[in-house]
């Protein structure tokens, strides 16, 4: 490694004098072979020395290591560096590391700039070393030019409200609420149904210890119910969320229960009620009345009226039988839904999962053959509190089945349903088979499986135990189930793949081991909280390894199966982790907000108010009389949507100034512009998506260069014009999918502006395909790669002359427009 340095010339290539206080240090990281295996880092560092303002450039094996950071600190002090450029991995990973290093050496952390030559370069162009090295030089050049224009910033601190909200009252939600409440914070526990308890309350036993599920859950439920710091909001749904980390304003719709707290759950009202409907808690295997309690151990232990079913649902009292039957007089039909507004500092999302409905797999006959049931239905059947009082019966004739089959992977690991492994079904089936063996040892049990995944603590033991107890495991999923219409018996056709022979088993009952999936209505909360979802539909964590309970929205954490399929133990573990993460924020009591807010120059402002109209946070105030508008810094989230809206150049965004971005564009397009694709990617979705393409090593054409903005709505038409005039091959503007925008749908302005720009391109005579708008989420690395590939294909059809001509046309058009203006 070379550490020699070059003192910069006093003038740049165009002969402009370089300000004397610009002393940039460039560090090119090899990242072991991750970068160094593809990019010639020494060559990049050598080249960087020729850039204006660069007084030293070094390459190093691991910049993020202690010696790497020490190097930066020592150089800042020894060489009086005023800017630091680190070319390494994604700033989403190590920007905080290098910022801290700069700060500890006395350099303002905002004077650091990173060039992403790993995720966006070496990992995605593994087989083209020359192109990757050229691209790395471009990225470093862009970073150096932007760095020169960076300004020191000071971050604002905002107070964190010391109250939390937990959404979802399953075992994960209960655990998170209890942890936070025990730590001394006020907690609002929001549950959609009439009782907390969730999926765990429906289960009979838990694996691998065979504990009684409700016996270990009920004490936690009642603890949550009576905890002085927990306010239980059942029959409640989150309707609106405003604000940001530390200061959320949440509107909760609390539906009327029609039964007051004085209810002693005596149950006199039930018999009086004439209305019946299948019971959701028992998976439709029994009936409940319109007035009911979800289950015996429900918390709160209060009845409720299902107003959709009640005869009084038209707003008039047509039936008062329950009211007459209630000796405590605690039924109140005049109760109304309420909207509560609560302020909280942190939110834990623990909304849980739905169970896969196997009706669509017609060959299995679920829904047509009464003796084909799901594992959740089985849990209710074998539970002492269930519809058959714990007797295992088959639905067709209510007789005890002597031969029972379990079929695995129903609704999991399939392109026809959910592509992922549901994580809990193998062990659940093993547990269920042991439960049957425990009560009725003479039952023959067959488990038809594909792979048995017994990976957790104590799981393999349980699997072995099931085999010893005589459960037969057969590898090969039945292709078809045939019902004998006279007896209700079921014949399974399939192949034992280990023997290579076909089988035909006749069973008394078949239990489908169904998978779990994201809640059907998960999209609603996703939009309210600006969460991302992975390709399987589950809420996405901020980092799969190192921030597994954080979300990309500050102050919002994930617990339980809403983040991905998991069993009770993992849900509880994650819930405590989420509570702990929320606790850190609240016990600190304040949080720093990045200095990336918008700012308005009052001298240039004409008080037209256009910026205030597009602000998603109402963070710009002012009026004509005042003569100018101003940004409320604490409310501004730093999307930058307001900047391109200003026709007078009065608005700019701190740390993402027009000047800084333009310097990146100019640097990038200094050589061979017609061969390059300029991509603007928003920090939250598309930049992360491009990072994900890198992590997944998805290869795409090397001529794309990415510039990061916080939101795609920051992209200004001035930038597009500038890039086209400089003869760029193509421009990509990419952001979050509509509805997923991290700035309250600010990206609708991106779309509007792109459409306007396409019209202008058409008018001027520029090939409209050269500007592309694409929505790429943080999970869609392959989509990002595909978009780039398609653009590259389109670009190959254009000649350098065509691009030059179109640039000329735009120049003339703009100068004409400038004359008339």
């Amino acid at each position: 490694m070379k550490t020699d340095q070059l003192i910069s010339p006093s003038k740049d290539k165009e002969g402009h004098p370089i300000s004397r206080d610009l002393r940039t240090g460039v560090y090119v990281c090899h990242c072991g072979k991750n970068i160094g295996g593809t990019i010639r880092c020494e060559e990049v560092a050598e080249w960087a020395r020729s850039l204006p303002g660069v007084i030293l450039a070094k390459d190093s094996m691991y910049m993020c290591s202690e010696p790497g950071q020490e190097q930066i600190k020592a150089d800042i002090q020894e060489h009086n560096l005023t800017r630091v450029v680190v070319a390494s991995c994604s700033p989403r990973l190590h920007e905080p590391t290098f910022r801290a290093a700069c700060e500890s050496a006395g350099l303002n952390p905002y004077l650091l700039e990173m060039a992403n030559i790993r995720e966006h370069c070496s990992w995605v162009h593994l087989h083209d070393k020359d192109a990757a090295t050229e691209k790395a030089k471009d990225l470093v050049g862009m970073a150096v030019h932007r760095a020169a224009l960076l300004e020191p910033q000071h971050e604002l601190t905002v107070p964190v409200i010391r109250k939390a909200m937990v959404i979802g009252g399953g075992v994960a939600g209960i655990q998170a609420a209890l942890d936070l409440a025990d730590a001394g914070y006020k907690v609002y526990l929001v549950e959609k149904t009439g009782s907390i308890g969730g999926r765990m309350a429906q289960l009979d036993k838990t694996f691998p210890t065979m504990d009684c599920s409700i016996c270990i859950l009920a004490p936690k439920m009642s603890e949550a119910g009576r905890h002085p710091n927990i306010e239980l909001l059942t029959l409640s749904e989150v309707k609106e969320v405003h604000g940001h980390i530390g200061n959320f304003k949440v509107k909760v719709l609390k539906k009327a229960r029609y039964v007051t707290k004085e209810c002693s759950a005596c149950g006199d009202c039930i018999q009086a009620c004439p209305q019946l409907v299948p019971d959701e808690f028992n998976e439709g295997l029994s009936f409940r009345h319109a007035i009911y309690i979800p289950f015996a151990q429900a918390v709160p232990s209060t009845f409720l009226v299902d107003m959709n079913l009640c005869l009084n649902n038209q707003g008039i009292v047509a039936c008062d039988r329950c009211f007459q039957a209630c000796s405590h007089r605690c039924i109140d039909f005049s109760e109304k839904d309420q909207v509560l507004e609560v302020d909280v500092g942190t939110i834990v999302v623990a909304t849980g999962v739905d169970v896969y409905d196997p009706t669509a797999l017609t060959e299995l006959g679920y829904g047509r053959f009464p003796n084909v049931i799901t594992t959740l239905e089985f849990e209710r059947l074998i539970n002492a509190g269930g519809p058959s009082a714990g007797e295992l019966i088959r639905p067709s004739d209510r007789q005890r089945p002597r031969k029972v089959a379990f079929i695995q992977c129903i609704g999991s690991r399939s392109k026809r349903s959910n592509p992922y492994c549901s994580n809990v079904c193998c062990m659940n089936t093993i547990k269920d088979s042991l439960l049957i063996k425990e009560h009725w040892p003479d039952t023959e049990i067959y488990v038809f499986y594909l792979d048995i995944r017994a990976f957790g603590k104590g799981f393999e033991d349980l699997f072995q135990r099931a085999r010893r107890e005589g459960v037969t495991f057969i590898r090969g999923i039945p292709g078809e189930i045939i019902e004998d219409i006279n007896t209700g018996d079921l014949t399974l056709l399939g192949e034992n793949t280990l023997l290579g022979t076909r089988y035909r088993y006749t069973m008394d009952a078949v239990i489908l081991s169904v998978g779990i999936m994201q809640r059907k209505d998960s999209g609603l909360l996703q939009r309210l909280l600006n969460l991302s979802a992975d390709t399987d539909g589950f809420y996405m964590e901020a980092h799969p390894k190192l921030k597994p309970v954080d979300t990309t929205t500050g102050g919002v954490f994930l617990a339980g199966a809403a983040e991905g399929p998991k069993d009770i133990k993992d849900s509880v573990t994650q819930a405590s982790a989420a509570a702990s993460r929320a606790n850190i924020l609240m016990s600190k009591g304040e949080v720093k907000v990045p200095a990336i807010t918008a700012r308005i120059d009052p001298d240039k402002c004409t008080a037209c108010g256009m910026c205030a109209r597009v602000c998603p946070y109402h963070a710009i105030e002012g009026n004509k009389d005042q003569g100018y508008y101003r940004v409320i810094e604490a409310a501004c989230q730093g999307c930058g949507a307001c900047v391109p809206e200003c026709n007078f150049g009065a608005v700019d965004q701190t740390h993402f100034t027009d000047e800084q971005i333009v310097s990146q564009i100019d640097s990038l397009l200094a050589h061979d512009p017609h061969r390059k694709i300029l991509a603007f990617a928003c920090n939250w979705c598309s930049y992360a998506g491009a990072d994900f393409a890198g992590v997944s090593r998805i290869q795409y054409p090397p001529n794309v260069r990415i510039i990061r903005t916080m939101c795609s709505a920051r992209v200004s038409h001035h930038w597009l014009e500038r890039a086209l005039m400089l003869g760029v091959g193509g421009v990509l503007v990419s952001g979050c999918h509509p509805g997923d925008c991290h700035y309250n749908n600010a990206n609708k302005h991106t779309e509007r502006r792109a459409e306007k720009f396409w019209k202008r391109m058409e008018k001027v005579g520029i090939n409209e395909n050269r500007l592309r708008l694409a929505w790429v989420s943080a999970a869609e690395g392959s989509r990002f790669a595909r978009v780039v590939e398609e653009m590259e294909k389109g670009l190959r059809k254009l000649t350098a002359k065509q691009i030059r001509d179109e640039a000329e046309k735009l120049k003339q058009y703009l100068s004409r427009k400038g004359d008339t203006a």
């Binding site: 039945p478 292709g479 399939g494």
Partner: protein
């Protein structure tokens, strides 16, 4: 390489998704009544072993291309397409059942794949006129256009 040719007609990529669940075997009506090679075994042999085993095996022709396996395949593997590719390959390697060759010869000679005795009498009984003559030359041209004459003499 013969192996290379097969993968030109069928993308091997699709087979990697097979995890041998054998739902296809349980769905196969041909296996119910004959010693046909099951779809699962066919895929496994083509993917991890020598697919020549399958190409040489006369049982390849027992599949009735009913598409049920494909319909129920959780990984949406185009099994019928694989079968067609394998059969095309088998024909070129000389693995064609005699009965099939007879049918092809008949088709080329008469324009019909099957001779039904007293067909016209039966049609007359049901009030139908005799079948129109088949443009045999046209049928032969079509057969040639598909390249069938390269593998079966007619």
């Amino acid at each position: 390489m013969i192996g290379m040719k097969l993968w030109q007609h069928f993308s091997r990529e699709a087979l990697y998704e097979c995890y041998q669940c054998a739902r296809c075997t349980g769905s196969c009506p041909a296996m119910e009544v004959s010693p046909a090679i099951g779809p699962r075994e066919t895929i496994l042999k083509c993917l991890n072993h020598d697919h020549e085993d399958v190409v040489k095996d006369e049982r390849l022709w027992l599949c009735c291309t009913c598409h049920v396996c494909e319909d129920r395949c959780p990984q949406k593997i185009p099994i019928s397409e694989l079968l067609v590719a394998l059969r095309n390959h088998a024909v070129r390697r000389g693995n064609v059942p005699d009965r099939l060759i007879m049918a092809i010869e008949l088709l080329a000679k008469t324009g019909r794949s099957m001779i039904v005795h007293q067909l016209d009498d039966m049609r007359a009984y049901h009030g139908l006129g005799p079948l129109p003559p088949v443009p045999v030359d046209e049928v032969r041209d079509i057969l040639k256009a598909t390249g069938l004459d390269e593998v079966v003499e007619f």
